[in-house]
């Protein structure tokens, strides 16, 4: 396998990390719905933390994207 193909494969593999973030985001919103169904008056306060958690999980997925960019930069 030549190194250009390996770099492309590596960039694709770096995107596999998005699966974990998908699980995480699903978990966050699922728990949020559970919490609000149980205690509707807490929606305002719980919602704030939900959005923080959502953004933190999403950022972790994007670290994979950064790794893909690094590989793309090394490819030349």
């Amino acid at each position: 396998m030549d190194s250009a193909a390996a770099a492309l494969l590596g960039m694709g593999l770096a995107a596999a990390g998005f699966a974990g973030a998908g699980v995480g985001i699903g978990f966050i919103f699922g728990k949020m719905i559970e919490a609000v169904a149980r205690q509707p008056e807490a929606e305002g306060r719980v919602g704030k933390y939900m959005w923080i958690g959502f953004a933190l999980v999403e950022a972790i997925a994007l670290y994979g994207l950064v790794i893909a960019f690094i590989i793309m930069g090394l490819r030349k």
Partner: protein
């Protein structure tokens, strides 16, 4: 699809200036930063120049912003943290306006350059270290490396772990903001590319999706500015209250 998806993030120098080997050329990012600084300054100066007991539209907006930032500081650092209000407010407003103005087509998102976010992150983290050393002296260093209540036999294990977690703080702070902005604009660029190459028959689908993405990006722009500010407050608060009771988000 040979087009580089990162092409929109490349910068061309409009006026090349070199100061003793230091490249301080004027490019799109620099102009955008000037625009952001001017807008924030104008908004705040105009809102506070004619203060009234019953606020008008502009004053209400400024009051909401100031109240919001005060809320973040009081929640994470307590009353001591109000000393840092100017720094935190400047950071928040600058990042928020950079993120939001970058969504206007034809402009440039300054926070999609890692050098900008890295300077912010290193400044914040360096400030928290200096602050901790000034306030607590040399016992600040074992204070941040050994969590309270660690049994003595766990210390050789905890010190490397905590060291890595400390080093990861500025890195994750910088990369989080940079990657979010870059990824959002890359997705929008890819969707617009699909719209054009799809033609009328199928092109409306990615176009509709890009409208929804734009809405999400508006939210992300605000949330990322908010998270950067909250984490800044948490890090500075950690330096304030060594072994504080509040749990910190990594």
């Amino acid at each position: 699809m040979e087009e580089n998806p990162l092409h929109p993030f490349e910068l061309q120098n409009y006026i090349p200036i070199s100061l003793g080997g230091l490249d301080i050329s004027i490019n799109k990012a620099v102009i955008m930063m000037w625009v952001v600084v001017t807008l924030v300054t104008l908004l705040m100066v105009m809102a506070s120049s004619a203060r009234k007991l019953v606020p008008g539209k502009l004053q209400s907006l400024a009051e909401i912003l100031v109240d919001f930032i005060r809320g973040i500081i009081m929640d994470t650092m307590g009353k001591d943290g109000m000393r840092f209000f100017p720094l935190i407010a400047t950071l928040f407003l600058f990042i928020l306006f950079c993120n939001l103005l970058g969504l206007v087509p034809g402009t440039y998102t300054v926070t999609s350059q890692i050098v900008v976010t890295a300077v912010f992150a290193i400044t914040v983290y360096g400030l928290s270290l200096v602050l901790g050393l000034v306030l607590h002296g040399i016992k600040f260093l074992p204070g941040i490396l050994i969590p309270p209540g660690t049994p003595w036999w766990l210390v050789p294990l905890m010190v490397p772990i905590e060291f890595v977690s400390q080093v990861a703080r500025p890195v994750s702070l910088a990369v989080r903001l940079f990657a979010n902005m870059t990824a959002g604009h890359t997705i929008l660029g890819v969707l617009f590319g699909l719209t054009i190459s799809g033609g009328l028959l199928i092109g409306w689908l990615p176009f509709a999706f890009s409208v929804a993405m734009n809405g999400l990006e508006l939210g992300i722009a605000f949330i990322q500015a908010y998270i950067f500010t909250v984490l800044t407050c948490v890090y500075l608060g950690d330096a304030f209250h060594l072994h504080g009771s509040e749990d910190h988000a990594h």
